[in-house]
Amino acid sequence: MSSGSPLCPECEGEVDIPSDAMENELVSCPECGTELEIMNLDPMELELAPEVEEDWGE
């Protein structure tokens, strides 16, 4: 990995982070599709997003 993109904690694929990214924003790993949460911007820190719970929705 040379681009500086953070790695997916699930598959170690490179994750594209939008330029206007925010802490606690959800992003998807383009390689494995896992949903991730940005826990910290500097240094960039990604964690697996919480599993969807039964009361989640609109």
Partner: protein, 292 residues
């Protein structure tokens, strides 16, 4: 003016909402529901996780994806006199399909024929009363989860046994509706205050048309008739910022299927040409007396 966005995490909608606030030179604090630890009797003078006392906020905009966290937070904040969107009253009515049905009934808003039962035996009778195919839904939940279209007694028995055996008590409230033979689509209308600002058709080959389940969004013209039923439905559950889901029955008349109080709209601004986030935020700002 001080505003906070109460969230579970930041999704596309929250970014659009923040951008809309920023356009009006307001920078909301972000409060994560996972960080809440509230002493209920201490009142709004205690500090929010942002380090600011709750009472210092002119508005808390609740956008939690977790229905229970959002709803209970609203219950506390409203009881302290903190202004929120939506209110606890509205959230409570929308987060439970049975309570929504009761509110619609009280205000004479058309809805699918709905029955409620509390045991597998009485639920079977309810299903046969509405006739096959019937639709069985959990009273809480979203994104089309655990909906069942029941075509005959065999499937009804199996689904009821599964619900009774595998589900918690929430699944033992059997909410049964007639199946509305809609024209391959339903309608989602966005109501802000007393206006329907936009609507989409959600088209799908599947009987469940939620965009979260792959339904395709296209523009739906907001006619006077659509606006009228949507605004009345929104007011029936307490009003605010709401997404009203409707079905068109065989006669082309609208029936209200459900109402969502923390609506998702990321796929709806493009087909409708309406900046939904900005409409919402300008309404919200107007409600707290600040001229945008």
């Amino acid at each position: 003016m001080r505003v906070a966005l109460l969230v579970t995490h930041i999704r596309a909608e929250e970014k659009l909402i923040l951008a809309a606030f920023n356009k009006r030179e307001i920078s909301p604090d972000i409060i994560l529901d996972r960080e809440l630890n509230i002493e209920i009797t201490q009142g709004a003078g205690q500090l929010a996780p942002s380090g600011i006392a709750w009472r210092e906020y002119d508005l808390i905009f609740e956008r939690c994806v977790s229905t229970s966290r959002g709803m209970y937070a609203l219950a506390i904040l409203n009881s302290w006199g903190v202004q929120t969107f939506n209110t606890y009253e509205t959230a409570a009515a929308c987060s439970d399909k049975l309570r929504t049905s009761v509110a619609l009934m009280k205000h004479n808003i058309p809805q699918p024929h709905t029955r409620v039962a509390f045991t597998p035996e009485s639920a079977m009778q309810a299903i046969e009363d509405v006739k096959y195919p019937a639709v069985l839904k959990p009273v809480t939940g979203s994104w089309g989860r655990l909906l069942a279209r029941v075509h005959n007694r065999d499937s009804a028995e199996a689904i009821l046994e599964h619900r009774q055996t595998l589900g918690d008590y929430n699944h033992h409230t059997y909410y049964v509706q007639e199946y509305v033979d809609k024209p391959g689509r339903d309608i989602r209308a966005f109501v802000v205050g007393d206006r329907t600002i936009a609507a989409i058709y959600r088209e799908s080959n599947h009987w469940i048309t939620n965009t979260a389940r792959g339904g395709l969004a296209t523009n739906c013209l907001v006619t006077d008739a659509l606006d009228d039923i949507c605004v009345r439905a929104a007011q029936a559950v307490g009003g605010g910022i709401l997404a009203v889901d409707l079905l068109e029955d065989a006669g082309g008349d609208f029936v209200v299927n459900e109402i969502n109080h923390t609506m998702e709209f990321r796929n709806s601004s493009k087909p409708t040409g309406v900046d939904i986030a900005q409409e919402v935020i300008d309404f919200v700002i107007g409600q707290i007396g600040v001229v945008a």
